[in-house]
């Protein structure tokens, strides 16, 4: 697999949102993988530092919005001496082309990686038609 080559460093991408946030803090865009299997669409996002309780996922008018908040209180009393990256909350949204069964969306967060499974609505699944 791809694990043999060396990992390159990429700068974190700052969020440029259509709607402005009312607070001045910076948001970042999480790197995402999206893939489709027969019955579901999966969205996998890297959100380092985000815990389970601080993720919000909303699906409205085919727009999937994901937001992850980091707990920066951990940095209290710490004085930076050298930095290579900045920290901030994460936000990203996608317009979905598939019809999703909203009730069955499931989410899992492990090692800072959020995996969303969005099952396709019944009518959107490919059906095999038997020829009589």
């Amino acid at each position: 697999m791809a694990e043999t080559h060396e990992l390159a460093v990429r700068d974190k991408k700052e969020l440029v949102s259509k709607e402005e946030k009312t607070v001045p803090a910076r948001y970042y865009v999480p790197y995402a993988d999206i893939y489709e299997t027969g019955d579901a669409l999966s969205v996998v996002m890297e959100m380092a530092g985000v815990t389970k309780d601080n993720v919000s996922v909303a699906l409205e008018n085919d727009v999937l919005r994901v937001e992850g908040q980091i707990d920066f209180a951990k940095y209290d009393g710490m004085e930076p001496v050298y930095t290579e990256y900045n920290i901030g909350h994460y936000a990203r949204s996608f317009t979905l082309s598939n019809k999703i069964d909203q009730e069955k969306i499931s989410a899992q967060l492990e090692d800072g990686v959020l995996t969303l499974r969005l099952p396709k609505a019944k009518q959107a699944q490919a059906r095999r038609i038997a020829i009589g």
């Binding site: 697999m1 694990e3 803090a25 890297e46 815990t51 001496v81 050298y82 990256y85 909350h89 090692d111």
Partner: protein
């Protein structure tokens, strides 16, 4: 008048502080080791130092950390897996190996180093070696 503490202002302040110390001269690249992954942030807390890195998707068992006097080595593997026969719409996450060595301008007490990896964030507590700590000399 009491000023209400806005947590979002606090984040914005922290972000500015982090920006101000971008690539300062404090940390230097080690002689061995390759690459610059993962990016590191270094903080001071009292006499000790805390090194933080974002390594989402890296499992604890895939991390190797070594400390010797003032040199720190971080190595490991970040893997990304997909189910069988998916139709990939977007592929942005990277997988690969990393091996980074850095030199700190202070001596570290290697026995006292603590490492924790939670929610894709690796934190290393590096206590400054006792012999390296500044001593205050009372004036007789």
């Amino acid at each position: 008048m009491a000023v209400l503490m806005d947590p979002f202002d606090a984040l914005s302040g922290l972000q500015q502080a982090l920006e101000a110390f971008r690539e300062s001269e404090w940390l230097t690249a080690g002689l061995s080791g390759r690459g610059a992954y993962p990016p590191l942030n270094v903080f001071r807390k009292g006499d000790d130092f805390i090194v933080v890195a974002e390594v989402p998707g890296v499992q604890k068992s895939d991390l190797e950390i070594q400390v010797k006097s003032n040199t720190l080595r971080l190595a490991g593997v970040k893997s990304v897996s997909y189910p069988d026969k998916p139709s990939l719409h977007r592929r942005e996450r990277l997988a690969g190996r990393f091996d980074r060595t850095v030199s700190l301008p202070v001596e570290i007490d290697a026995d006292g180093v603590k490492a924790e990896c939670r929610d894709g964030v690796l934190a290393l507590w590096l206590p400054r070696a006792e012999r390296d700590k500044p001593k205050s000399i009372p004036v007789a």
